[in-house]
């Protein structure tokens, strides 16, 4: 990420934060609606070093822990791991391909949910959450992420292949 790209990336991330708190509640069906905060974290992580991505993930996780403190620290742990892995994954297999981007976002959301649920302890319905709601939320987030990448491809400086 060059210095001149940074304001554009910050603008896109800011827009995603506003969408998360301003648009997401209007969509309804909270368990399935796209998670714009994880999307912002992943967009940042795949353009950053793993250490910075981990710190960003920790910050996003703390924010969500403050809002859903069912088990404080679970979201911080989950987002730290997801941010770090996304940044590492970029170095290994991240081409400018929309499908791969979408798959990474879907995997990130599912992994985040799995870590949060496991770290929070069994509150019942683990299978339902892991194999029904989380995959659905991962799909909607990935589709939204693909749309964001397509719309802001010039700002994010990526060459998208089909």
């Amino acid at each position: 990420m060059t210095r001149s790209d940074r304001p554009r990336l910050v603008a896109v991330l800011g827009l995603l934060v506003v969408l998360h708190f301003g648009l997401r509640p209007r969509l309804g069906w909270s368990q399935v609606a796209p998670d714009f905060l994880v999307l912002a974290l992943l967009l940042y992580a795949i353009r950053s070093r793993p250490g910075r991505a981990a710190v960003a993930g920790f910050a996003v996780g703390l924010l969500l822990d403050a809002l859903v403190p069912a088990r404080f620290g679970a979201a911080a742990l989950a987002h730290t791991v997801v941010g770090y892995l996304a940044a590492w994954g970029r170095a290994v297999f991240f081409p400018d391909n929309l499908l791969v981007n979408g798959a990474v976002m879907a995997t990130g959301v599912w992994l985040r949910n799995a870590i949060v649920l496991l770290a929070s302890g069994n509150g019942g319905g683990l299978g339902m959450q892991l194999f029904v709601w989380s995959p659905l939320q991962a799909l909607t987030t990935a589709a939204t992420g693909a749309l964001v990448l397509f719309v802001f491809r010039d700002w994010l400086d990526i060459r998208l292949e089909a």
Binding site: V17, V18, H20, F21, G22, L23, R24, P25, R26, G28, S30, Q31, A33, D35, L37, V38, R49, P50, G51, R52, A54, V55, G57, F58, G61, L62, L63, L64, D65, A66, L67, V68, P69, A70, R71, F72, G73, A74, A75, A76, L77, T80, V81, Y84, N113, V116, L117, A119, S120, G121, N122, G123, G124, G125, M128, Q129, V132, W133, S134, Q137
Partner: protein, 287 residues
């Protein structure tokens, strides 16, 4: 970039990652640290985003739309009632309005600010706080029955521990009031539904499926008469010293959009406020 620089950057990445993971684990095992930080965060840096979310929630569901529906009562609005989600939501809102009219204790109405984590539903953030009189240990109800209890309040928001939280407990009895026990989350599901358990029922007592379970008022947190759920049948894990019954919850925290926080309800019996007529299908027609 020289190899030494690459190595130091990689080491720095690993150190930062380990530090964040370490801090997260500390927060997991010493939740008191995080809880106090979270309370401060919700009333300071997170206030703007919570305001934004409360505004979005209100304009979605919403009181504005509902009031417009009531004011205009035009055919378009009437047609909208038949969209399943709007219809269910309006039914819930109307149930809540009916309940609010019948409640004999002061209350505060609040919007539920749902979050994206899968554990949303075990705790809920609602848009009424100390500025509107909410206090810790105030019971929280929906039109169907008990939702949970206020755990913490800040100016503008309250944190609600719902019946789905693993630490939730409520003293209850099965109607007509001869069999008492303690309600707790069952940690198992029936299809997509979370269940509750009625524990501590004496071995000599039996409860028929379909029996309504309501709060007993013992313990002083929940007033008597708030519906918790209906008995499904005995649980498999009977201990021999007590009977355990599975209970289908009356309310669903994940789907709740609006709740009522009961202020200082005392020990007044709230059963008449939750009387069935307001929840019957007939209530689903516009006046």
């Amino acid at each position: 970039m020289p190899p030494g620089t690459v190595r130091s950057l990689t080491r720095r990445d690993t150190v930062l990652f380990s530090l964040c993971v370490g801090l997260s684990v500390v927060l997991l095992f010493i939740p008191e640290i995080g809880t106090s930080v979270a309370a401060v965060a919700r009333s300071t840096v997170l206030r703007p985003v919570l305001w934004l979310q409360a505004w979005a929630e209100a304009s979605r569901t919403s009181r504005a739309r509902f009031e417009r529906l009531r004011a205009e009562r035009d055919s378009a609005a009437y047609a909208a009632q038949f969209l399943p989600s709007l219809r269910a939501e309006n039914l819930r809102l109307r149930g809540l309005l009916g309940l609010a009219r019948r409640l004999p204790v002061p209350y505060v109405a609040a919007e539920v600010l749902h979050q994206s984590l899968p554990t949303d539903g075990r705790t809920l953030l609602v848009s009424a706080g100390s500025d509107r009189g909410a206090q810790p240990f105030d019971p929280v109800v929906g039109p169907e029955g008990l939702v949970g209890v206020v755990r913490a309040v800040e100016k503008g928001t309250s944190l609600v521990m719902t019946w789905a939280h693993p630490e939730f407990r409520a003293s209850a009895y099965a109607e007509p009031g001869t069999v008492f026990g303690v309600v707790a989350p069952a940690l198992r599901m029936a299809g997509a539904e979370y269940l509750l358990q009625l524990r501590g029922v004496a071995v000599r007592d039996t409860i028929a499926p379909g029996t309504l379970v309501v709060t007993s008022g013992l313990g002083g947190v929940y007033p008597p008469g708030i519906p918790i759920g209906t008995v499904l049948g005995p649980a498999a894990e009977d201990t021999g010293w007590e009977r355990i019954y599975l209970v289908r919850p009356a309310s669903s925290p994940e789907l709740a959009t609006h709740v009522l926080i009961l202020r200082t309800p005392g020990s007044r019996d709230l059963a008449p406020a939750f009387a069935p007529p307001a929840l019957e299908p007939a209530a689903d027609s516009l006046p």
